[in-house]
């Protein structure tokens, strides 16, 4: 896989800083919700500090540059590219490759670029499944001829084109080489600013690092009381009164804390809702879902009826891999037919 390639340190930012030159940055979204771009804006007045230290050469969400401006740049012209969004269609892939070529450092910004995020759950289906549901089955759709969007379409005046919708969602690192990962859905603003400062100062760590987050898991920082209790049944958040002081897992609620990287500040936990894992796995964990499954199994009471308990976890894949399916060992669910067509 591309991300396993040997990564060379690129101390460009430090050299730039020493020379007193402004950094050249790009910010882009692919298949994303826009929350990562809002997360950048949430740094507020500090945006002005960012602009002082860096020229943003491409930021379609906010600024007035075009693909052709990027295409015209020399290779490696951009110092740092913050890339959010997953690779869902041909346009996403094209721009990821273009920006990779033009950027010295590529940062997978946010959960979609990092691990596929919630839209990555589409890998439980495929293009045909999505199209059939969206354009043919949904009860409000009136489509007697079964029309589907086409990559090329003739209209009376000429031809219109759409980018191809892929069979699966891919992460940025499955598409191009990535130097750094900034996790979160979205990354919290304070950490976005921390990372931006690190970039501006030219103090990025060795390539391959996860930046803007902790190294251990969420439970290491969580203030909820743990009594070492074992559980006899799993419950869902709407089924019970939620104790705001006690560990969710010990209340029988699935919480992704044991398998999730710390660093978000636990806003969901503080709102009295369990973690769903948007910061991805902590250091040393390859597969977040497998890690969470083992953590959950470890708290089951030895006297409990395990078979009964397992049925109480109603959506194992969608729960354990809520944010990380495309980046997991599973990556996707596929039939033999799909396999043959790849």
């Amino acid at each position: 896989m591309p991300r396993q390639k040997q990564l060379q340190p690129k101390p460009t930012a430090r050299a730039k800083k020493a020379a007193g030159k402004k950094l050249k940055m790009a910010i882009y979204w692919a298949a994303a919700c826009g929350g990562c771009d809002v997360a950048v804006v949430e740094i507020g007045m500090k945006l002005l500090d960012l602009i002082q230290g860096a020229d943003i050469l491409f930021w379609p969400a906010a600024m007035d540059f075009k693909y052709k401006d990027v295409e015209a740049m020399k290779d490696g012209f951009i110092d740092v590219c913050l890339f959010n969004g997953a690779i869902r269609n041909a346009e996403n892939e094209h721009v990821a490759k273009l920006l990779r070529k033009k950027s010295k450092v590529m940062v997978a910004f946010g959960s979609c670029a990092h691990e596929g995020c919630i839209p990555g759950l589409a890998n439980l289906s495929d293009r045909q499944g999505v199209f059939t549901r969206v354009y043919r089955e949904t009860p409000s759709t009136d489509n007697p001829k079964g029309i589907l969007p086409q990559v090329k379409c003739q209209v009376p005046e000429g031809e219109l084109e759409l980018p191809e919708f892929y069979n699966r969602v891919k992460t940025l690192a499955q598409t191009v080489q990535v130097e750094y990962t900034l996790p979160g859905c979205p990354p919290v603003a304070t950490q976005v600013w921390d990372v931006l400062q690190t970039i501006l100062r030219g103090e990025l760590p060795a390539p391959g690092a996860v930046v803007g987050a902790g190294v251990r898991n969420l439970c290491d920082e969580c203030e909820r009381v743990r009594e070492g209790m074992r559980i006899k049944r799993f419950v869902r958040p709407h089924e019970v009164a939620l104790d705001a002081e006690r560990c969710f897992l010990e209340q029988g609620l699935i919480c992704a804390g044991p398998a999730t990287r710390a660093g978000c500040g636990r806003p969901c936990i503080h709102a009295n809702m369990p973690c769903r894992g948007c910061y991805g796995p902590p250091d040393g964990v390859v597969d977040q879902g497998a890690k969470l499954l083992s953590a959950v199994m470890a708290i089951i009471d030895s006297q409990a009826d395990v078979e009964q308990l397992v049925t109480q976890i109603v959506d194992p894949v969608g729960t354990f891999y809520r944010f990380s399916l495309p980046d997991s060992l599973l990556q996707r669910v596929q039939s033999d037919k799909q396999e043959a067509s790849q």
């Binding site: 979204w29 298949a31 919700c33 826009g34 929350g35 771009d37 809002v38 949430e42 507020g44 050469l57 930021w59 379609p60 906010a62 007035d64 540059f65 075009k66 401006d69 740049m73 869902r88 269609n89 346009e91 919630i118 839209p119 759950l121 589409a122 439980l124 499944g129 999505v130 549901r133 969206v134 949904t138 009860p139 409000s140 759709t141 009136d142 489509n143 969007p149 086409q150 379409c153 209209v155 009376p156 005046e157 000429g158 219109l160 919708f165 859905c185 979205p186 869902r236 958040p237 709407h238 009164a241 806003p267 969901c268 709102a271 009295n272 109603v314 959506d315 894949v317 729960t319 809520r322």
Partner: protein, 497 residues
């Protein structure tokens, strides 16, 4: 036939593209806006537990996550046949009102508003939030930033976080608020009311006070006589969180009023092969193509549509602003698309006043914020007014509350056909045989859809800046014969080349 492609247009969630076709004489033959994006939430939500939908579907849009969070939470209430306690409903509405203040503020000062606050013909380099600050003053600029930060803080107090809140559960919300938090929320809301009033004054002075702008707003090139949709309370007043969906005809007469659960009787969606986004229309009239008028099923769902579809506002200051707007624009309904900017300000004031009312409600700090569902889950529809249009979530589950089928009609999707029509009409009005296509002309085409605050894939990026456009004009063989651009930074151009 010449094809002019504007690709990508930006300040849209995901990616939009406009194709203009010119005939041999240089007259506009047709205009298309294409949405090249699809993520397929309707499919991959199948199999998920319904109580997780408020935390899953907010990922449709990071700009208006609170809208999806609320529609999903209400749909989950309906699936479980559960009625949340009054305090829970009030906390949801308070969160939602504060979110509205932030979201509308963003559009007024950062996205669409600069066209007027700075001017449609201003230097493109100034037609942005910084230009607004330069013209309106630094004090106003800092109040814009303060309002955004405070409303984000307010949403997070209740929902855990502003981007992708987490508090909604079938039957209530995950936590109550403390008396101290209430005090802070009241302060935030009071500031928001002041800010909204100030914003209306700024708009009156800079825009309505300018005859040329008013003429532009009222010009036929930017008008469509369509049906209008909006959520209303029992007195037919605008409501963002709850009520019935009311649709009025182009004369302003009530056409239908329906309960969320009945949406399929009234709304259907048309599919075209050249875009990934569907085209909703009124079933009672039918899909008649991209045309307006009483015989076309095309309707609009925007701030102006909500005001047109209602009999007034539920708070006093907003009601006065509502009456004033219709007096100034010649009565109801208003068909001028660009008047949507004014309507958005009236809604901004309503949202702030409503938030303030709720923070002063004695029940708002009640700890009774959950009803544990006991009925067997089945099927449910949840509707809220997203800032960009009526938002419908429809879920069908099995007896364990696991989703079998999901359908959604999302804010901007309602306006997809009208946006296509508005672009086409503005382009028709602007491009004639022999017209030289200039940057100013492109901006005026842009203004036709910017008024909708479009949010394709459901999210306009709520960010500063002007839409860059580079338009290539090609001949039959696809050879580039002319290229035009706007808002492309010239120093950057030099660096880049």
């Amino acid at each position: 036939m010449k094809k002019i492609s504007i690709d990508p247009i930006t300040r849209l969630e995901g990616h939009g593209r406009i194709d203009l076709f010119l005939d041999e004489t240089g007259d506009l033959a047709n205009a298309y806006i294409q949405i090249p994006e699809l993520r397929g939430f309707e499919k991959f939500c199948e199999g998920r537990p319904v109580e997780e939908m408020p935390r899953i579907t907010n990922r449709i849009c990071g700009v208006c996550p609170a809208a999806h969070h609320m529609a999903a939470t209400k749909a989950a209430d309906a699936v479980y046949h559960v009625d949340p306690p009054p305090a829970a409903k009030k906390l949801r509405e308070l969160l939602y009102s504060l979110f509205y203040v932030g979201d509308h503020t963003t559009h007024v000062y950062v996205l669409g508003g600069p066209d007027f606050l700075v001017g449609p013909d201003a230097d493109p380099a100034e037609r942005n939030i910084f230009g607004v600050i330069a013209k309106a003053g630094l004090e106003i600029g800092s109040r814009v930033i303060q309002t955004l930060q405070e409303t984000h803080e307010g949403v997070a107090i209740i929902g855990g976080r502003y981007i992708h809140p987490v508090c909604g559960l079938p039957g209530g919300v995950s936590k109550s608020i403390t008396p101290e938090q209430r005090v802070r929320l009241e302060e935030i809301s009071r500031n928001a009311v002041d800010f909204a009033q100030m914003s209306l004054q700024v708009f009156e002075k800079l825009v309505i006070g300018n005859k040329q702008y008013l003429q532009l707003i009222l010009s036929d090139m930017y008008a469509h006589r369509t049906y209008y949709m909006g959520l209303v309370d029992a007195q037919n007043r605008v409501n963002f969180y709850d009520g019935k969906v009311r649709v009025v005809d182009p004369q302003g007469k009530e056409f239908i009023k329906y309960e969320p659960a009945d949406y399929l009787q009234h709304i259907a969606e048309h599919v075209e092969p050249w875009t990934y986004l569907k085209f909703p229309y009124l079933k009672g009239i039918g899909w008649k193509g991209f045309v307006d008028g009483k015989n076309s099923g095309v309707y609009r769902a925007s701030p102006l549509s909500r005001l047109n579809a209602s009999d007034g506002m539920a708070t006093p200051l907003a009601q006065a602003a509502y009456e004033h707007m219709y007096d100034a624009l010649g009565g109801k309904p208003v068909h001028a698309t660009l008047a949507t900017h004014w309507a958005r300000l009236v809604e901004l004031l309503y949202a702030a006043e409503r938030a303030l009312e709720l923070t002063r409600d004695p029940e708002i700090t009640s700890t009774e914020v959950r009803t544990i569902p006991t009925a067997t889950p089945t099927e449910g529809v949840g509707i809220v007014e997203a800032p960009r249009g009526t938002l419908t979530h429809h879920y069908v589950t099995d007896e364990r509350g696991i989703l079998q089928k999901v359908n959604m009609i999302v804010g901007t999707t309602n306006n997809h056909a009208p946006i296509c029509m508005s672009i086409r009409k503005a382009a028709h009005g602007l491009i004639k045989s022999g017209t030289v296509v200039t940057q100013g002309l492109l901006n005026r085409i842009e203004m036709a859809f910017r008024a909708y605050d479009p949010c394709f894939g459901c999210a306009t990026h709520a960010l500063p800046g002007e839409m860059p456009m580079v338009v290539g004009i090609h001949d039959y063989q696809g050879n580039l014969i002319r290229e035009l651009s706007q808002n492309v930074n010239s120093s950057q151009d030099q660096q880049a080349r």
